[in-house]
Amino acid sequence: MKRETDYGHPIKPVYTPKDIENLEYERDLGDPGSYPYTRGYHPEGYRGRVWTRRMTAGLGSSRQTNEVLKRYRDMGQKGGMLVICDRTNAMPIDPDHPIGRREVGLLGWPGASLLEFEELMDEIPLTGQSITLLGSCAMSAVRLAYIVALAEKRGVDLSEVHGSVTEYPFCNNFGQTDAQPLDLNLKLWLDSSEYIIRNKIRMRSGILSQHFQESGGNNAQALAVEMAMLRELCSLLVHERGLDFDDVALLPYELVSIGSRFFEEIAKIRALRRMWAKMAREEFKAKKDKSCHLLIAVHTSGRTMTYQQPLNNIARSAIQTLAGAVAGCTAIDNACLDNAHAEPSPLAARMSLNTQHIVSDETGVTDVVDPLAGSYFVEYLTNKVEEEAYKIWSKIEELGGMIAAIEKGYIQEMLTESAQKKHREVERGERLIVGVNELVIPPEEDFQIPIQELKSGDSEGIAQRMEEWKKTRDLPLIEAKMAQLYSDAKKGESYNLMPSIVDAVKAYATAAEIIGVIRKARGLSYDPLETIECPFALK
């Protein structure tokens, strides 16, 4: 068995004061609530507020997902809701698209229009809990428009809604794919971000290392990629959109993937807090302390959830949840025991939420802030992962930053190599996984778990409903909104399309219609899959 970190650094049998002899408490750690925030942002830690314990929902129709959300509330999920969008939504294509109709609703919530957002949120408050919608970058602006439109319809003060519905423009390279080119994704992300900041909406935008890491990247790479993304995207908002960094700093949130390498995962999050704080203060000249706080949420790793002996995943999830709690974070959603089989069953979802409550309410982890600070090993690992991350990050900057490094294929190559390495390590028995390459049992003796699945024909049902409903809309109004959007989309990269997207969403234009019209204005095909024609007469 290999005794080295997941990024290949050898681990010694014991750590002593010598391993952290250069560590200076005030400079490198500081008390919780003090710069450089290695130990966290709040002097009282979880005593003030326990992390948001939440579960992903999203399967089938909007009505079905709404039922699941209400069930999660009954299970104790009150602080925040988390919905993952389906594959048609990610692209986006509409559920009645010839290719979309074969798989709409299979992997998440379809969410193709304001109607579906209204159904999703039926009897669920927009305020008093965080609203998080996970999905592709391309749909960020449209998801934000759903929030704006529904808040207006319900007479809710938009400034009271919080959460996150927008995501960073690089996820196409890390498995969370849409069907849009990088320049369009970047524009839509900048537009939605600028709109959030200028209107002082309390919504965050996900700039996430989770997708990178779940695709096979290691801890040091994940930190480097996260910092490179944050640096480039914040710079664009400051320099190209003319925003103040102290306002921009309230936008990003990071979703960290936490795997089973307990101490390394904790070190990674501690290092990330320090790296962000330093960049905020030294490079971006942050004036406010709050700008040095990067909001960090945790996703326990779906990648580590095995297909074999799925009940073992409960133990893995508990260890990872504890790591997230010890590291200190704002919210956790944990992967479910059936992650390698299907979307969460009610049993698996309850187990996941219960796991979080066992960790928060039974272990004592919420009593003390950053309990592993001062551990020779954990402080050494925090320094080491930071050092390795800085090396990779400098390489990315040498190539011209995150966008340039992606265009040159550097990031993709690094990820592919790391994924291959992880696979080889398991195959050679250098890394042990119970039930996979150790303590294996014959498949016929494997544990039986309930499997949550959609019935064949459910996708077609959603598609047909969409097809019929589309005809009942105020079509002349939609035509007018589309004409406006088309003309705005020709006004240049920095002309913000959010107002016309919000208008189109309020008129019940669909996601694919909105993105399709913007595509046309940019000389692209209306349909990213080049199967259907644009239904609007645009001039």
Partner: protein, 139 residues
């Protein structure tokens, strides 16, 4: 490898599934084992996969599946039959629940490899399948 020609395998992700890591890892494993791999990437419709299989004359089609979109795999099987390519071996890998795996096998998929399958098991299956196919076409 004991077969008369270099084995040619088409690897693809199907439909709207965007999870490409598994397909990329398996492509590398097969290339390292000396096979020729035609990697189509993501957003491939069943029609596109069949078209590529005909153009490239592959021995095996491997579909990586992490999006529960099994109807797309069934559509692929239907199209292969329609194009008289029933004898092309189709294998799948990924997060496919057991009873769905059985259903896909009943409909013509030769083998399903769950997550964490070994390189050896995948390579051996393909080699022995192609050998058998050669023997039966020679006899």
């Amino acid at each position: 490898m004991g077969t008369n020609h270099r084995i040619k395998v088409l690897i693809s992700v199907i439909g709207l599934d965007g999870h490409s890591t598994g397909a990329e890892v398996v492509s590398r494993i097969l290339m390292d084992a000396g096979m020729e791999v035609v990697y189509l990437g993501i957003y491939q419709t069943p029609e596109m996969i069949v078209h590529a299989a005909i153009q490239e004359g592959v021995d095996v089609i491997g579909i990586s599946s992490h999006a529960s979109n099994y109807d797309q795999i069934l559509e692929l099987l239907r199209l292969l039959k329609k194009n008289n390519l029933d004898d092309t071996c189709v294998i799948c890998g990924g997060t496919i629940p057991k009873h769905t795996a059985q259903e896909l096998k009943d409909r013509g998929v030769s083998e399903i490899f769950p997550p964490q399958s070994t390189s050896e098991s995948i390579v051996n299956f393909i080699v022995s399948h192609v050998k058998r196919a050669e023997l039966s076409s020679a006899s």
